[in-house]
Amino acid sequence: MTLRTYVIRRLILIVPTFFFISMFVFALIHLAPGDPVLAMVRRNPPPPEVMAQIRRELGLDQPVYTQYLIWVGKVLRGDLGFSYVSYRPVWTMISEKVWNTLELMLVAEVVSVAIAIVLGVIAAVKHYSITDALCSLGALVGYSMPNFWMALMAILIFSMQLGWFPRYGMLTQGVTFATPFHALLDHLKHLVLPTAILVLGWTAYLFRMVRSSMLEVLRQDYITTARAKGLRERVVIYKHALRNALLPVVTYEAYSIGFLLGGAAVIENIFGWPGLGRLMVEQAGVRDYTTVMGLSMIIALMVLLANLCADIAYAVIDPRIRYD
């Protein structure tokens, strides 16, 4: 089987999984206690007849499976529904924020992968050294520290006390920038703190993974063989060991995109970053079921696609893996 057929087959397999997930989340949202109509009109509850009318118009008087089928039919036509809490189409709300989240996550991802691989290899090669101990200690601190607390401390120190970085938003409000370059610079300044927090937490996990995976590979016979052949240590480590050590890291990477999304939700809320995570928290807070449902689907899709990418990357990195 070629790589192409493999990718196509995996893409087709995503469809049933996606349906299962949508069924699960739909059931979770619609079987839960709490009246969405009441949540919608909370500020000014109309008379019961009007409430019943709204319920009928939204199809909420139908049984859950009918509602689900209606919902699926709409989604297949590209309509994620209309949020009666925000009075906007769900898709518009999501599409204007999805890139902000992706930007945050991608930058954090790239930086942490780079740091984690470099430090992980060094720590594994110099096992039991001071460097190893320091890196491991740093990782321990990184993954034990609550993400949101770390963010608050960073705000306290770097934007309140030192005033180095802005603490809120993506761009300074109410300022006209002389050139697009100035705007970009201002944006990058806003980006530093949120990504730094994500990177700190994320690198800690990845580092542990790279290090332990690397330690295991370095014990293998083929590493001894490579050394016995007289290869330079650099070649042994980067060509023979690292390539194999990265395999489990790749799977882990994809598995954890959901984890990173959760972290981003917290960070976006604290730094006022207008992304999906913040939207999720805000809309869940006001019980905007339609938006939450749409968001959950987008997030699930992102996770599934990340898993697919990992499987493909796995197959590309490791020639031993067959596609069947």
Partner: protein, 312 residues
């Protein structure tokens, strides 16, 4: 972390012998009267300083949680002026309501430990039940249960917790724990099922069956005890997660504002980020140390019991 090889360390508790023997052999010969499972695990755990530090932190937090009313300098009500910085009377300062922060942080240990332990307990119970049923019956039941498991596992945990928690009208700390239990079991179920299938094929299970042992007896007496070490390791590594999840949920406004958990304290301190740094710093440090203690302990336990887990 820094794992000293068992070779050099075995010198420590056997100073008068050559340490040429393997560690298993040493344990069998040495003090056989004490060689209970617990003792063996403890001795392996003791080899790693970091694991011992972790155990110490966990123990200290547990003791604080138990005796909080005795050691706390004040009651949890208003005891002084509002938002005073740390001083001799109030080591951690006071909060906006004039309550002593040290007292609140000490009491907070009770809630955080309760959340961590109770949520993980629920996970283990549900995970055990579902994993065993799936492993035992196999076939369609297995297929359906594992499909559900995969679906929940593929959704990010924190957003899922947020979505689920919003459906509850009252969000007491027990509701939070319940939701965590309901959301968090799939990984445990998958592990239990895998272990079940592996152990079922073991020679000693076959031997028991050939002696006419009933299915129940095999499950309870032979399969279940052999899963314990895996379950305990995963459970101990999950506890800090749920402690931090509770704090995060609370911070985002989906928690129980009346519980005075560390998350609630941080959230309240957030309002006074600029004017009262102590309100946010000390509960956060408490969270950090507790989760670090559990992480170290869990890592040590994993190494001592020689279990392979996913690194979360």
């Amino acid at each position: 972390m820094i794992e000293p090889s068992c070779y050099e360390r075995s010198n420590d508790f056997m100073p008068n012998r050559l340490s040429a023997k393997s560690k298993e052999e040493t344990e069998e010969v040495f003090e056989p009267s004490k060689a209970t499972q617990l003792y063996i695990v403890w001795r392996k755990l003791r080899r790693s300083e970091l694991a011992v530090v972790g155990f110490g932190i966990v123990l200290a937090v547990s003791i604080v949680a138990l005796v909080a009313p005795v050691i706390a300098p004040y009651g949890t009500g208003m005891v002084g002026r509002s938002r005073r910085p740390p001083s001799v009377e109030h080591w951690f300062g006071t909060d906006a309501a004039g309550r002593d922060m040290l007292t609140l942080v000490l009491y907070g240990a009770r809630i955080s430990l309760y959340v961590g332990l109770a949520a993980v307990f629920l996970n283990v119970m549900i995970g055990l039940a579902i994993g065993m049923v799936a492993g035992y019956f196999g076939g369609a039941i297995d297929e359906v249960l594992m499909r559900i498991t995969d679906v929940i596992l593929s959704l990010p945990e924190l957003p899922l917790l947020i979505v689920t928690v919003t459906f509850f009208e009252t969000r007491s700390i027990h509701v939070i724990v319940l939701v965590m239990g309901l959301i968090g079991w799939p990984f445990m179920a998958r592990v239990v099922r895998g272990e079940f299938l592996a152990i079922r094929e073991a020679a000693y299970v076959e031997a028991a069956r050939s002696m006419g042992a009933s299915s129940w007896r095999i499950i309870i007496r032979h399969i279940l005890p052999n899963m314990f070490s895996t379950i305990i390791v995963i459970a101990s590594m999950d506890i800090p997660w749920y402690i931090l999840y509770e704090a995060t949920l609370t911070f985002l406004g989906f928690g129980d504002p009346l519980s005075n958990s560390w998350g609630v304290l941080v959230q309240k301190g957030y309002l006074y980020l600029t004017s009262a740094w102590w309100m946010i710093t000390f509960p956060g440090v408490a969270l950090f140390f507790t989760s670090m203690g559990f992480n170290l302990f869990g890592d040590g336990l994993r190494d001592a019991l020689d279990i392979r887990t996913r690194g979360r």
